[in-house]
Every structure is written in C-alpha cells, then in structure tokens.
C-alpha cells in the first residue's frame, strides 16, 4: 500500500490522522458493546500501524519529528499537566465539601500526579546537570 502512495510528510500525517480516527471510532464502538478485548486489540493494532508507517517514512528520509515539534510537545504537556491538576484539585475540594466520596479520589489523583511530576523533575534536573 505504501509503495502505491507517493509517501511524503503530508501523506504520513494524513495517514496517522486517519488511523487515529478509525481507532477512536473502533474503541468507541467496542466500549459501547462492552467488548474490552476488541478495544485492546484495536489500540495495539493502531499503534503498530502508526509505528510501521513512521519507520517506513524515516527510512525514506522523511522528517516527522524534530526539535520544534519536541518543544511544542513539551509546552503542551506542561500546560496540560497544570490545567488538569488545578481542575482535579478544585473539583476534588468542591466535591469533598459536598461530602462526595469522589472528592477524595480526585484529590488522591492530584497528589499522585504531583508526586510523579516531582520524580520526573528531579530525574531530568539531575540528568541535565542540576543538583
């Protein structure tokens, strides 16, 4: 299939979007039907296909990831972490104030996220020459 397609950066990106959309639809349908095995198979098959296409693209010298994309990912991850943590903790306190058990769960998840963040922060700080 890849030989038929005149593969370039744009084709690879379109293929990845198409596969991701198909996997999303398949996951939605399989969860709706309560078949979690299909969900797992679909996720693994989707990831494997994307990896296969990316590897093919790399061998053809197509650049899919570079330092700008890496920086974009870092910034997006950082913002996502901050927003999700604040939302989790805020909702956690609100639900706790309303005596809802879910409040505790959200606060625990918030704490876990902060702990994981601290572990990775220390790891990268040390790796990049910090104390």
């Amino acid at each position: 299939m890849l030989k038929i397609l005149n593969m370039n950066e744009s084709t690879v990106k379109k293929l990845n979007v198409l596969i991701t959309a198909m996997v999303g639809v398949a996951i939605g349908l399989s969860i709706a039907q309560g078949n979690y095995l299909i969900t797992l198979i679909v996720v693994i098959a989707g990831l494997a296909t994307i990896r296969f296409i990316s590897n093919k693209a790399r061998t053809k010298g197509i650049v899919l990831e570079d330092e700008r994309l890496e920086l974009t990912t870092i910034k997006a991850s950082d913002k996502t972490f901050r927003v999700v943590t604040v939302v989790l903790v805020t909702f956690g306190f609100v639900l706790k104030a309303l005596n809802n058990v879910l409040g505790d769960t959200l606060l625990y998840i918030g704490c876990l996220m902060l702990i994981v963040y601290l572990v990775f922060y220390r790891y990268y700080a040390s790796k990049l020459g910090g104390v």
């Binding site: 950066e9 010298g61 650049v63 899919l64 570079d66 330092e67 700008r68 994309l69 920086l71």
Partner: protein, 66 residues
Amino acid sequence: MKNRLKVYRAMFNLTQEELAKKLGVSRQTIIAIEKGKYDPSLKLAFKITRLFGVKIEDIFIYDGKE
C-alpha cells in the same frame, strides 16, 4: 531573535524543502525560523551556519528580546 535565513537560502538557491532535508528538520521548522516564530537550538543554528559557511552572527541577530 531576528535572522537572515531566508536571504541565505535564496543566495544558495535552495527551497525550504531542500534546506529542511539537508538539516534533518521538517519544512514547517524552516518556515517557523524564517518567520521568526521559532528560535532554533544552538545545535541547529550551528548546522545552518556551517551549511552556508558563515558565522552564527551572520545569520542570527540577537536583539535582546526574550
């Protein structure tokens, strides 16, 4: 940071695609650098200047912002 990448690319008669391939980055990265939206890493900046055979300050001009 300002840069003269577009000027040097034109001088060497290279397309954005060709330059991107030579530097091992995507065409979007070249576009972003030329538009001044993205400041390249020191490594990429050196790769660019070596490719054109000039000094780093010939292409990249630090204007003191950010």
